[in-house]
Structures are given as structure tokens and as C-alpha cells.
């Protein structure tokens, strides 16, 4: 869902940012296990990175806010492995496997895991020319889909300028719903003034950019 609690840009009331001196990579061993499980199961390619994000965004808002980052990762992963039929809810209850596994396209071996991790490439070839060029004035769409999107609420219906063209990339709005529906779209850096986003009282020294997919943009 798009208008869910994860979309926090511009909200008030969460208090100061609290940096932690000498912060450990993981605060408890289970956090590391959740991190590793997510990466290992993610490698099977059953869902996309945006499908994974969507499973966290649709947590009940009170749970999302109460949970730590790795708690959210765990709740999303637990939800997905059941939803995709890798395990049954009854197995979660008993804590053990009760039936044969389903075949996975890819499993992470110790040899794979020993290699340095490298991000996937989300750029895709296209024959469609980019609709906008650097310097073009654009207006972001006013959309409120019930499904996943990467256009934040604070930047909807706002006027900005195309600053960079980043290539043609997997479109999160479709790829979140269907692993086979990448519908690649041109991706742009769009920059907004503080006043455009936050009103006349905003600090004139501030500009904000988002990375916007072409369907989010209209000529201004």
C-alpha cells in the first residue's frame, strides 16, 4: 500500500535523531540471523526487492512503529515465506518442518556467501526514448495507489526540475506485485525547492531531490 506508515518524509513528532556512539553492526545475534536469512531466501528470486519492501509497509502501523528495523525485517520475511508457500503456518507453530520442501530456483551455498556481496543491477535496456531531458520543468503526479509506489506523499503534485537521467530501471510499482512484471521505466533525479514542498515559510536554503520514475512525472 502506498499511503502507509513507512512514508514518513515531513512528519512531525518523532523527536530528535539519536546517534549511538560506537554502534555495533548487529545489536544481538538474532539480528544478524534475520539479515542473513533475508539475503539467503531472497536469492531464490520468488519476490523482488520491492515486493519485500511492500511486505513491511503493509504491517499494521502500530506494529511498524513499535518494531525495530530487524524486527520489521523478520515480520516481513515470516509473512512472505508463508505467503509464497515455502513453509506452512502450522510449521511456524511447531517450530519444525512437517513436510517436504518446494523446489527453489537458487540457494546460497557457503562458497557463494564467502564472496563479497554485490548489489543487483536494476537498469534494463529499452528502445523507448526518455520523455524528459535535463532542465525540463515537471510536475509529479497526484497518485494514491492502494499498492506499492516509490513516489513519497510529500512530493506528489509538486513542481520540480529534471536534474539527471539515471537510465531505464525496473519499475517498483509493478515489480512489487509480480516478479515477472518489471515494466522498466526511465528514472530521473527531480529537484524541488523547499518552498514548493513545504510552503512559503520553508528555509530558502533547502532543496530536496527524489529519484522519480517516468510514470510519476508530467510536463509542467
Amino acid at each position: 500500500m502506498s499511503n502507509t506508515i513507512h512514508d514518513m518524509g515531513g512528519m512531525h513528532g518523532f523527536g530528535p535523531v539519536e546517534p549511538e556512539p560506537n554502534e555495533p553492526v548487529f545489536h544481538a545475534p538474532w539480528e544478524g540471523r534475520v539479515h542473513a536469512l533475508q539475503r539467503a531466501i531472497g536469492a531464490a528470486g520468488l519476490w523482488t526487492i520491492d515486493g519485500g519492501r511492500a511486505s513491511l509497509e503493509t504491517l499494521p502501523p502500530q506494529t511498524y512503529l513499535a518494531a525495530t528495523y530487524y524486527q520489521r525485517w523478520f515480520l516481513g520475511l515470516e509473512k512472505r515465506v508463508v505467503a509464497y508457500g515455502l513453509i506452512g503456518a502450522d510449521e511456524l507453530t511447531t517450530g519444525h518442518s512437517l513436510r517436504a520442501p518446494v523446489p527453489l530456483k537458487r540457494k546460497v551455498t557457503p562458497a557463494d556467501a564467502a564472496k563479497p556481496p554485490i548489489r543487483g543491477n536494476f537498469e534494463r535496456p529499452t528502445n523507448t526514448p526518455a520523455r524528459f531531458k535535463i532542465g525540463d520543468r515537471v510536475r509529479t503526479a497526484n497518485i494514491n495507489p492502494a499498492t506499492h509506489t516509490r513516489l513519497p506523499r510529500y512530493a506528489r503534485g509538486k513542481q520540480g526540475v529534471i536534474e539527471a537521467i539515471r537510465g531505464c530501471h525496473v519499475y517498483p510499482d509493478t515489480a512489487a506485485l509480480d516478479v515477472h512484471n518489471e515494466s522498466p521505466q526511465w528514472l530521473y533525479t527531480v529537484v524541488f525547492t523547499g518552498q514548493e514542498l513545504w510552503g512559503d515559510d520553508a528555509d530558502p536554503a533547502i532543496t530536496v531531490s527524489i529519484e522519480a520514475f517516468e510514470p510519476y512525472l508530467l510536463p509542467a
Binding site: I41, L65, L92, R119, A205, A212
Partner: protein, 203 residues
């Protein structure tokens, strides 16, 4: 069920539930615990902000590298043999006397893992994600960073699979420093935009 009870049941016993999930996934042969150990280890011991610091220090000492970094940070980072590989669409943004850059992901917690390691808790927290785009000066104050009044602040919201690393300004008084010594003052926060390199106190 009351909201409070709901929260409690969703989040209680997470450690036990993580262990149970790993057990089930292992029994089914979907995951190999030895591989999980190595996945944990990669970010605990191998990949962290030192990778990014080496990139910044090189950019400070080698103008050709800096130009390459600002053009295509993935390609430039991978040209440094001593930094672990970097995947697609790393973008370096340069701080100047006119503009200070600050990176956030308001929608989740997108972060350049390969050059900075895993993000700190504050980067993934509601206070940072909510305020960085509307009150960046307030956020910088939380970090003890005060910029000259005339400095413009540019916030980069990481809403796609592009990833950003801030190239901080090289501090005055470091002209004679070696690349290795420079790398020591490039902290993680400097490369997110919530810190500035501090030559004072360094050896």
C-alpha cells in the same frame, strides 16, 4: 484484541521465533547455516565505512579520480583494486563551500551498503527519515554540525535503486597528509552528510 495486546503478540519472543524460522528453513534445505554464518560475517568484519573512506581519500588526492568518481562512482570505485566491488548506480555528490549534501531514505532505509556497510539505527529511524527532508538544519544540529548560514543544503531522498555517497570537503591544514592518513578522518557520517571531517585530534 486491543492495540496494545496486538503489538505485544506481534513483537514478543522475536528471538525464539527467529530461531524457529531458521530451524524450519534449514530442515527443509532452503538455507545452509554455514552460509548464513558467512553472510553475517561479511558485514560484521569485511564491509564497512572504511571502503568509502578510501574512495574519498583517493578523490582528495587524485583530481583525475575525483572527476571519474563524480561521473560514474560505481566504475571509479571498482577501479580501486583495494576496495571491495561496488554494484550498479552508486552516485557521488560533492560538498562545496556553496552546497552541503545530506542523504536519506524517507520510505525505507536505502543506503550504499558496499561502501558504508550496514546503516546505523538512527539512519533507519523515524526521527531521521521524517525530519531530514523538512528540517535538515535541525537534524544536523542533533549531530552537532553547524554550517555557515549561507550554505545551501541539498537533501537526496533515495527513492529508487540509485545509491548516494557524499564526497566531503577536504579540511584545511591537511595538505601534507598521506592518502592513508586522510582516510582515517573520513567517518561514516561524513559520507551520509551528517558529519564533517575533523582533522583536529587526529595524529
Amino acid at each position: 484484541m486491543a492495540d496494545h495486546d496486538h503489538d505485544h503478540s506481534e513483537l514478543s519472543d522475536i528471538q525464539l521465533r527467529v530461531r524457529a524460522l531458521e530451524t524450519i528453513l534449514t530442515e527443509k534445505g532452503y538455507v545452509d547455516p554455514a552460509a548464513l554464518d558467512l553472510l553475517v560475517e561479511s558485514y560484521e568484519t569485511k564491509i564497512g565505512p572504511k571502503n568509502g573512506a578510501r574512495i574519498v581519500a583517493r578523490a582528495w588526492t587524485d583530481p583525475k579520480f575525483k572527476a571519474a568518481l563524480l561521473k560514474d562512482a560505481t566504475e571509479a570505485a571498482n577501479s580501486l583494486g583495494h576496495v571491495s566491488p561496488v554494484g550498479s548506480h552508486l552516485i557521488a555528490v560533492e560538498n562545496t563551500p556553496k552546497t552541503h549534501n545530506l542523504v536519506v531514505c524517507t520510505l525505507c532505509s536505502c543506503y550504499p551498503w558496499e561502501v558504508l556497510g550496514l546503516p546505523p539505527v538512527w539512519y533507519k529511524s523515524a526521527p531521521y527519515r521524517s525530519r531530514a527532508v523538512i528540517d535538515p538544519k535541525g537534524v544536523l544540529t542533533d549531530f552537532g554540525v553547524a554550517l555557515p548560514a549561507e550554505t545551501e543544503i541539498r537533501i537526496w531522498d533515495s527513492t529508487a535503486e540509485t545509491r548516494f555517497i557524499v564526497l566531503p570537503m577536504r579540511p584545511a591544514g591537511t595538505a601534507s597528509w598521506s592518502e592513508d592518513r586522510l582516510a582515517e578522518i573520513v567517518t561514516r557520517d561524513c559520507m551520509i552528510g551528517t558529519g564533517l571531517p575533523q582533522p583536529q585530534g587526529s595524529r
